[in-house]
Symmetry: D2
Subunit: 351 residues, 4 copies
């Protein structure tokens, strides 16, 4: 059994990891940390966890992030921490030979300057060369041999999975890529703010951070690696949906000259046809958040307009699973040489 | 492996059964029937089931309810059918030695007259003596030896589990029992009606069928078995919540003379302290729908007013799981002598 | 034109008052105060108010609650302030001959001890004799001659309006009155708390403050005035609905001996048949939150069980209007001898 | 007083018209028709209308669409009818000198072929020359002298208002215009369908009718009139939001050469600075559905990217008001030479 620690277990991503690891047949949850709930049991923080005696949540007490103590008890650490906090603990964890899957942005970038322009000064730049971007389907070979995974952001996951194959194969033009993305409220986390007050969100909808969302440089850095014509600067507009979990991106791109609908479909199928967690939908079928909620799936549908050569791609994920905790567990499975589906292939109903 | 058939698989209860059986380690889904979607695959009806290749949903085609054909392939049949439709097929299924868990009301009653007053003429009254009421925690011994289980209604489950111990032990007065119950919209099923139109339900709330809900005689018949002072006539008022799944009952009863809070708590603990799917909450803790959603748990909290001797009991369940499909699977586990938790003890997060 | 000031204009009740006064044909909004948004314009705080040039919101700047300054400019002050804060300013406002409609609990009670047991020490007890409880339909004669109105709580309004006529006429027993009440989230106000975080409330439902909600003594004090048999101690259980505005109370009472359904209906009609803001629904019709949302109406329906003599009463209001700002404006209309409907009788659609 | 008839009063748009006309100081509702609720009173269909005695809803009985009877009693008829049904009655209504505001698509098009490609054969093509497209701010001069207004679709309103000024002034390129639009469920009307079932919509989100929504030719026809470089073929992708009312469009266009942010802002202000129902938001401010819900306003905000010359425009309306009934009343005000704001400028709060 893999011995797992989760730092930041009292946040929404943290508790989603708690759930997935508890249901994982080859992993055991051995330690949880929380800054705000130190000394409290998980069942105290999350009553929905009550009564799973087997899982032993009653005895899982949120502790300090004490690395020397933790390192005795765990093989792998998930960091569901705010940006900047991860940087403070990753170097020491690595010294103790703990494998790390960091869900903050701190180790997602190759280029420290790009990170620093969007976040803050990076205090362990040398590790950016060692860390691997945890977009499982694309980077699984590198992940396999790594011990530090920078788990992708939720918006980037929903945008990169559909775009990378088309870009890499030269099927779309690298300029003028637009992603109109919509996220549920859980993406904003569990801390309190006017923008997560029920009465402000319910029955409303709006765009936010137009032109300056921190996920834009993350998306651009990865996409640019697959561009045949220089750097990519995507237009990315996030919106807030009045629902708890789920994310949908509607992506507008121009096909390269002479590209046909079949080529697009075949490319998608050659990349993802055998992937358990990426589904390419049939023609005229499009994803819905309700089809992926509670799963680790990224559903992708597209429409090709022969006249304008425009491709409209729609992708949907559960922001807390494929967009965070689920992909993190998928990466753990890769790191430990398990079948990637382990613990992630439960059937989910429509409601 | 138990070979399972599900009749009425295209409804909300039906597909919840599909999900639970698919995730069950000791059962295989062998046949599904649907009147409205005959000939269609489950993935066509419910896109959220797409891509679970292991589960083989792509090949599960909704068929007719042809008993002689089905009986070759299954050990147990779940009937997620409308009332009256179950009655038509149960006798024949029994003749083919198929075990039956009927989620309609047709075999929930002992007294045919009570059934007929609330529903319609019963066409196989003789089977009411053989059928067992499937309230798992209370009737598991009888269920074990049965081959026809009348799975309880959702409202009755949320009301009977907290009331039976107190009534049986004589801790409460049998008159003037009130249950103010609230259900999510999935309880109304998947068929179209003005009362399930999004715009009519959303941002609203109302009581309905005051004084004449069909679950009242079901509750009364069962409760009366535990009354020491004649028949019980509960006051039951159902309400419709603007949410998809979950049910909460707030129950008002009078304590019998000289009963103390401790006696109530101890009675609950002696009945349910070891039950995996009934949780008695600590003093001053009360259930919430979010704590049970997605689980087979019935959470129960209570408040005892020393002055007035009134007991306010709050119970919460997921109407589609403990209130329908989950309890049905729990009953299957009992019928087949499995650990009751099998397939039902996945950890659920708070969102 | 009545010159109006609103203290606490940046809360949900405050801004509802801003809306109602702005749409009122005989009143002008002259001053608004806010502790948290001092110096900011209302349009800055509430973008939905933008662009109503006539209303002049752009020029309404939230100021300090400076009584000598305000008293020059206004005839009446609405206090949408937290409990305790009202007490601090009411005596001085009265000295300046400003009429006051206080939406906090500070002047709702006749009995200071009852107030103090639920809230805190009262610093102007002598005014409790002068203040009038602002349940408009019941106390309009007293309100007419008053200058200090203690505007009722939302839960009490939904419970007292249906109960007072029956109690006063001796049609129901004064013991064992139960109100199972449900409120939308706006009732919890605009300040941030885990219990108003979208993800915690959405798709959930729960009871809270069982046995110790502050509205209980308020309800009991008023009801007891109409009891023929001593003090009334209601059983009141509030619940939180996953919707923004609206409140519904399901009330369970026992009819007195020999009372008939017709007597109940006729009593209701004699009390409320001519009231513009209380609707007695026809037999078998019950209120829904969607029927009163956005209006100053209290809808009341009831079911009488001949066998058990139990009466089930359902009442619905918009917690922010009849439960707060609307009733406050109705009281202003009474204070200034206007038709009570002035500014409150706009037609509201179903959505 | 203007004597008003509303055909199709039992739909969501119809009842919104009922509400607006009832609150309108210069109009009286004289007749309502409904196919499904013939002979029933409006209060029977919509309980929220109960008790407005002044408005007389109790006496407003849904009648047949009998033109010779209706024409005796009304000056203007709003047609809130399905496409094709309007065509059948408009010619006769015109013969009776009734002014018509048609909320179906039947008289929105200039080009009959464009209409017929999206809908069905047009049976009164000659009237298309006489009808005026009812986008109030743009066509008010023509509307003033007309007697047949084709009231715009909701999506077109949210897209055309922000685009026409920029296109007409040559500030944007006419190719590659994208509108990613999101609508609340009330846009789908009151009839029952799986896509409006609460459980299917709630907690979900999806795109629909990609590449073939009927509003696309309507948008294209109008936009093309303002293009300096031939016909416009917009990319329009509608999405369904899990909320009742409101619509938001995020529009992506390329600025023409050398256009500055100031030019765009100034153009908007010169077109709309004095409009009561179009608000141009300050830099870095963007609309939200909660800011326009319940109002006749179209809020517009934009972001200009200097590097890429891309303009991201966000517009928000209430789909039932500015997107349907409100704009229809605005057009009635124009037709009858009233101040356009009459009956439409009530202040709306944030909730």
């Amino acid at each position: 059994m893999i011995k797992v620690g989760i730092a930041g277990a009292s946040g929404y991503t943290g508790v989603e990891l708690v759930k997935l690891i508890s249901n994982h047949p080859k992993a055991t949850l051995c330690a949880v940390t929380s800054n705000s709930y130190k000394g409290q049991s998980l069942t105290n923080i999350f009553p929905s966890l009550r009564g799973f005696k087997k899982a032993g949540f009653e005895n899982l007490i949120c502790e300090d992030l004490n690395i020397s103590s933790l390192s005795q008890r765990i093989d792998v650490m998930f960091l569901a921490l705010p940006h900047k906090v991860s940087m403070k603990v990753v170097p020491a964890l690595l010294e103790h030979n703990i494998k790390i899957i960091d869900l903050s942005a701190d180790y997602r970038f190759t280029n420290a300057a790009a990170y620093e322009s969007a976040y803050q000064k990076h205090t362990s730049k040398h590790l950016l060369k060692k860390s691997v971007y945890g977009l499982s389907e694309i980077y699984r070979d590198k992940i396999k041999t790594s011990n530090l995974v920078g788990n992708p952001g939720c918006y980037p996951t929903s945008i990169l999975l559909p775009l990378i194959p088309l870009l890499k194969e030269g099927l779309i033009r690298p300029d003028n890529i637009i992603s109109d993305s919509k996220s549920g409220v859980s993406g904003a986390g569990r801390s309190l703010s006017p923008s997560t007050h029920f009465c402000e969100v319910n029955e409303s909808f709006n765009a936010y951070k137009i032109g300056n969302h921190r996920h834009t440089p993350e998306i651009n850095e990865v996409l640019s690696k697959y561009s045949r014509q220089g750097k990519i600067a995507i237009t990315f507009v996030p919106h807030l949906l009045p629902l708890t979990r789920g994310m949908l991106s509607t992506i507008y791109v121009q096909a390269a000259n002479n590209v046909s609908e079949n080529e697009i479909r075949n490319t998608y199928l050659s990349y993802y046809g055998d992937e358990p967690f990426v589904k390419i939908l049939d023609k005229n079928m499009y994803p819905a958040i309700s089809h992926v909620k509670g799963t680790n799936s990224c559903d992708i549908g597209f429409h090709f307009d022969k006249t304008s050569h425009q491709i409209i791609i729609v992708s949907a994920i559960d922001n807390l699973i494929k967009g965070a905790a689920g992909q993190a567990v998928q990466n753990m499975n890769i790191l430990f040489d398990l079948d990637e589906k382990t613990g992630l292939n439960l059937v989910q109903g429509p409601l």
